[in-house]
């Protein structure tokens, strides 16, 4: 799950070189979308996955094209503050319209589990894990084997050279941002079934996503997967052993990785 959260974040960061703090708000929007589709229209949460991903792709594409593109090459402070402002705006709007109640999409099979030799695996979590692996594999294949994927990677490596090769930069940027948003959408949909949520419970995902990316290595799909798994394990252990201070643990790991190995587990070179 954390891998999926980190994946979209990693793409936007690696290619556009901005820290997209609106990421958590996208996750939130998808979680609410899935919840309302399930609660009001009876759509199975897993069936709503393509819908939320498509809607968020379009939203992300437009947001990048018309808003974020303007500040793309300005200072860290500007991009950071803009995406943070958008995040705060979306979360406050959600608080206003959806209220702060905790919700969860609970399909009929929510409480059933697959029992494998004494190991209980809830179907929702099992499904979520399968979706994460499938989406990660799909993204990997897309980036590695399609023409559009190659142009996205090219823009990430050298914007000027990519432009000389005839790649439409702003379109590629918007596309990348859209894909990032769609991945956040998938994460949101899955989250809405595996745990309860309210508008304020998403803010932590930005720091989590950042940690996953830093741990796994920037702009690397398998890196995000491994970073997500490693980080998820540590996070769960921290939750069990020192629940109230678990975010402190994240912070120390983050600082440790940044200082000791800034390129992450699988990354090749660090961004400044």
């Amino acid at each position: 799950m954390l891998a999926l959260v980190g994946l979209g974040f990693s793409m936007v960061w690696g290619i556009l070189n901005i820290i997209n703090l609106t990421h958590a708000a996208f996750i939130m929007l998808a979680a609410y979308g899935t919840y309302f589709l399930w609660a009001d229209a009876g759509v199975d949460p897993f069936a709503s996955l393509p819908i939320t991903m498509a809607v968020l792709f379009v939203a992300g594409y437009l947001l990048q094209r018309f808003v974020i593109n303007r500040v793309l090459r300005s200072s860290v402070l500007t991009t950071f503050l803009l995406t943070f402002g958008l995040e705060a705006l979306l979360i406050n709007l959600a608080l206003f319209f959806f209220t702060a109640d905790t919700r969860q999409s609970k399909p009929p099979y929510a409480n059933e589990s697959l029992v494998l030799q004494g190991l209980r695996l809830p179907y929702t979590q099992l499904g979520a894990a399968i979706v994460v692996l499938a989406v990660t594999l799909g993204l990997y294949l897309f980036l590695d084997h399609s023409r559009t994927g190659a142009s996205i990677r090219a823009v990430g490596q050298d914007r000027v050279a990519a432009r000389l090769m005839g790649i439409d930069i702003s379109r590629t940027y918007a596309l990348t941002y859209g894909i990032g948003a769609a991945l956040a959408g998938a994460a949101g949909t899955l989250l809405s079934t595996t745990s309860g949520f309210s508008p304020v419970s998403f803010g932590v995902f930005n720091v989590l996503a950042f940690s996953v990316v830093v741990l796994g290595g920037l702009g690397s799909v398998p890196g995000a997967l491994i970073g997500g798994l490693a980080f998820g394990l540590v996070y769960e252990f921290a939750s069990v052993y020192m629940l109230p201070q678990r975010d402190v643990v994240i912070f120390f790991i983050l600082i440790l990785v940044l200082v000791v190995r800034p390129t992450g587990l699988l990354g090749k070179e660090g961004y400044r």
Binding site: V67, S74, L81, A88, N92, R272
Partner: protein, 366 residues
Amino acid sequence: MNLAILVVGGALAVLAGSTRASRTARRGAAALLFALMLAAPLVSSTTSILFDALTAMAIAYGWNVIGGYTGYASFGNVAYLGLGAFVAAGFMSRQPGHAALPWWIGIPLAVAIVAVVAALIGLVVLRLRGHYFSIATLGVSVAMPQLINWDAPFGPGGLLPNFFGGGRPLNFPLAGDLTFLGLELSADRHFFYYLALATALVGWGVTLTLTRGKFGYGLVAIRENEEAAEVMGVNTTLAKVQAYALSAALAALGGGVIGYRLTNMTTEAEALFSTANNLQMIVICLIGGVGTLWGPWVGAFVLFALQELLRQLSGNADFLRWQAIVFSALIVLVVLFLPDGVLRFVGSRPRLGWRVLTGRRSPSRA
């Protein structure tokens, strides 16, 4: 009345910081501004929004040191704001186990302690740059409230038992009304107002010395080119850590004063460490002009004038519901359309027209 003070004060601050006005005009505007601020409680019956504006300004001046002059975009100064309030409460509280120090010892002591803590944290996080530094400081702001509630050092059996409450309530002592030279001075209207004004003036004074001294020039050199600054003989690590600690000290000063007025730390912890507080100091600097002497002053008055205007236009209840939405929308708009702040906007007189609105102009500061 308060709205008028904020608008006039903001206009005077713009004039005082304007690069186009003559030296005398700027000095005169600054003098008028200080006179206005000193006289404000005489003409205004409630000074609470001015208190908010002035303390926020002091904190913004703190952010300006590291984010504006040194060019390290910190997103975690709210950690020091909250910590300052809690440490001050820990010293000043009259409950058993606390020192019950008077405010003029308790708050400066808290400021000094927070500065030391920030210097230690700064030694680590200032090794990072750009995005990494911003996120790491954001992490500090997430971790700090949890550290304060950590039972091992601060719990009942810890190193400093119940210093931050540790499950028991933590309060500042109530500030009473005073009689001074036969004048009745109300705690809220006079005492806290002047305390806030003094806080803001400390922030302003610190920034003034930065713009005139070697230390401040060193920070600007680091912002413009850190390697070059190092080569030119600036001890960059030391200067950065000092700037970060100074920045945290001002945040702690503002936080301590805010906490003193709020009184009950147990219920206000979430408000002190809130994202809104975190963003507010940055937005204030951004509205006024990042890395300028008068920027935080202008930004704070503009922001709080808008807030007061909004509150007067809508009812109180509606206002509370909309405040956060309007505030975050304001951030987006300011970043998109006024990224250089009011002062530079006034100073440069750009061709205001569709070029500004469509964003087709050269990036100002890359």
